[in-house]
Subunit: 411 residues, 2 copies
């Protein structure tokens, strides 16, 4: 089975926004065992959307459209699907009444164009949208299926994962294709492949590795009669992967490294503080991107200057003697913030991500990451390549990874 | 003149990476007055790349490909362009010698596949790549132009802005189309349009507003005989926009709000500290994303917990009395960090971005932003909607905007 993704919106063609929804949908399709061979982006123009949809329908079994479901005259996806599928639009009274009630309850003026959001091709079923006004659509005709999802971020993600993904998993009729992604850190892609080679030759479930920034994702995909049976096929393969890779597997599916770390610390009733120089707050931002981060993350300091390292951490003499980008400074930063905030662990990052930093002669890309646990302090020296943002992101990633390793080693 | 963008890479179709290059190229095309009506994404498959390029060439004058120029067997963009343009590949000896020297100098083993990067369609000229091994291409045949750019971020951006953009500006033959983007903050899109309505009716230069997250971009585009003449047409329009919008215009082209603020403070010899609660480091991360940020940004504290607010800032009694999400707490956070770091200005952010935060009953989305200047402290209360990330990003944006306003009011 093959699919194509069509992103709709003139703002995409002008480069005003970055399309993060199409990659999300691409991952979901891959997890459902559906091959996506083309993605297209088209503006708010009826003829061009119709032409793009017709081409996609001529090549693929499934087409997923993103955006263009709102109430205004340039929201044309509904109309274009109807034309491309040789269908007509009808109004769903129940949806229109619901929209009218929502507008009244939320104190917004009803304008007639809002009723457009209650329209659908006659071949379509409504996908309820609990997070917005425009419902999604699933249109089935002549053996083809078109899904239409709304563009706003708070609406797209829940509909894609909670409603569209289960439908995609069962599109094969009697069979279900279901995947689980294992996230692996600290082991390169080729090394992962070597350790799980015996699993990669299997046909059901299949196992496929994908390199990501600073980590590797392993997708285990099973085909079966139900999601439950697929899960039962995946479980023992996950256990084999974990046996081969050990603690390098840090999470499954949407769990990112910061989530995994916050969950680990929360479960252990332990706490964390940070002292950031080069990353300037990036580590704290990632750790606090998770709901409930305050259960484990306490806070920290941004010490972007030698005087500030002294004012906030009292480590002026060490900075003077060894320089701000040094093993000794990283050690002192981490130990000082842990003492001040009385946490179980602390991370420090100091390094040179640019030409103009006050780094005492250390080369660009050199980073020192300090980690304090109840059993002592360790400092990791790394050298990263790439642009400023790459160096900062990789330093954060390594810091989170090293702390996780050390936490897991604690009793 | 019309253009299409073709992004090449199976990892894009699997959703493993987010395509940020296509939006960059889309903005560049718009700034050069070239209408981009389609974008396509295709995997590392020769037939499908050729098919996609042929379709793009059948509709557009210019096609820009991104990615697939590396040395491996799945880097097929060069081959596909040659087929789609009915051309053949030839090796550029000079480039191959240069590649061989680079490998020798950098201590890498030369493998024959690297020579692929020295190939080009016979109709192509080489675009030098000072940041990587694979050069770009500009292929001209039968009135069509195909640009091929490499995918790595550190290579794509400089080639796109410094080398391809000037070529796109002059594609119209005798005429040059050149744009300048003015970035506007604190004024909504409709309000901007109202204030510059008289300029939006003009034909050369044209003026077009685009809403972005928390700001509006105004693109002024002039058509003329040279870039210099175009600039001379744009200058007076920029002055009229500035006269109409005043200090709301904070920067031009690629200058973002944090860059504008760091430049402003650096020019004034002034300094800044931050105390972040809800944003957890996001403000510091943005301010330090700029080379040379240390000239103005000193550092700050991440106080994600009541005890930490007391330990690092000594404001425990105020948190106890008024709660962590309060005007009083924001004021105390900002004043305390400014005193500790002895800076000209300080910003604090405290608010509720989620259900589980320790916020003393304040509703989700409520944010207090404190700003201290040499003339006193002010606190701004805001309420933001959206998901956690939206609330945090908007709070950072408002904080940077408010500080900029207050700095500009200083003598």
């Amino acid at each position: 089975m093959t699919a194509e993704i069509v992103s709709v919106g003139t703002e995409l063609l002008l480069g005003q926004i970055i399309d993060t929804h199409a990659p999300t949908m691409a991952r979901i399709l891959a997890e459902c065992g559906i091959a996506c061979k083309h993605r297209a982006t088209v503006g708010d123009n009826l003829d061009r959307i119709v032409e793009t949809l017709r081409q996609a329908l001529s090549r693929a079994d499934v087409v997923v459209t993103i955006g263009g479901l709102g109430p205004t005259s340039d929201d044309l996806t509904r109309d274009a699907i109807a034309v491309a599928m040789d269908d007509t639009l009808e109004t769903v009274e129940e949806i229109e009444q619901k929209l009218r009630r929502w507008f009244a309850q939320n104190g917004y003026q009803w304008v007639e164009s809002n009723a457009r959001q209650a329209q659908k091709p006659t071949c379509a079923e409504i996908i309820p949208n609990p997070n917005g006004t425009a419902p999604g659509l699933v249109c089935r005709k002549n053996g083809k299926t078109v899904f239409a999802l709304p563009g706003p971020r708070g609406e797209f993600d829940p509909m894609a994962y909670d409603q569209v993904k289960p439908m995609l998993e069962t599109l094969g009729g009697q069979s279900v294709i279901h995947s689980r992604v294992l996230r692996v850190i600290g082991v390169g892609e080729s090394s992962v492949e070597e350790k799980i080679q015996h699993l990669m030759d299997a046909e059901n479930p299949t196992v496929a590795p994908y390199a990501q920034t600073g980590e590797v994702h392993l997708r285990i995909t099973a085909k079966s009669n139900s999601k439950e049976e697929a899960e039962a096929l995946i479980d023992p393969v996950e256990q084999q992967v974990r046996a081969a890779l050990g603690d390098a597997v840090y999470g499954t599916d949407l769990t990112d490294l910061e989530s995994a770390l916050i969950q680990l610390l929360t479960a252990r009733g332990e706490t964390l503080a940070v002292a950031e120089s080069m990353t300037g707050g990036g580590l704290g931002k990632r750790l606090t991107s998770i709901e409930g981060a305050s259960n484990a993350f306490r806070g920290g300091v941004l010490v972007y200057n030698a005087q500030v390292k002294d004012a906030l951490l009292g480590i002026g003499p060490i900075v003077d003697e060894f320089g701000p980008v040094s093993e000794e400074c990283a050690k002192a930063m981490a130990e000082s913030i842990r003492n001040k905030l009385n946490t179980t662990y602390a991370i420090s990052i100091t390094g040179n991500a640019g030409a103009t930093s006050d780094t005492g002669g250390k080369p660009r890309g050199r980073v020192y990451i300090g980690i304090v646990t109840p059993h002592g302090t360790s400092v990791h020296e790394s050298s990263f390549r790439g642009i400023r943002d790459d160096i900062r992101t990789r330093a954060e990633q390594v810091a989170l990874m090293r702390l996780r390793e050390l936490v897991l080693k604690q009793a």
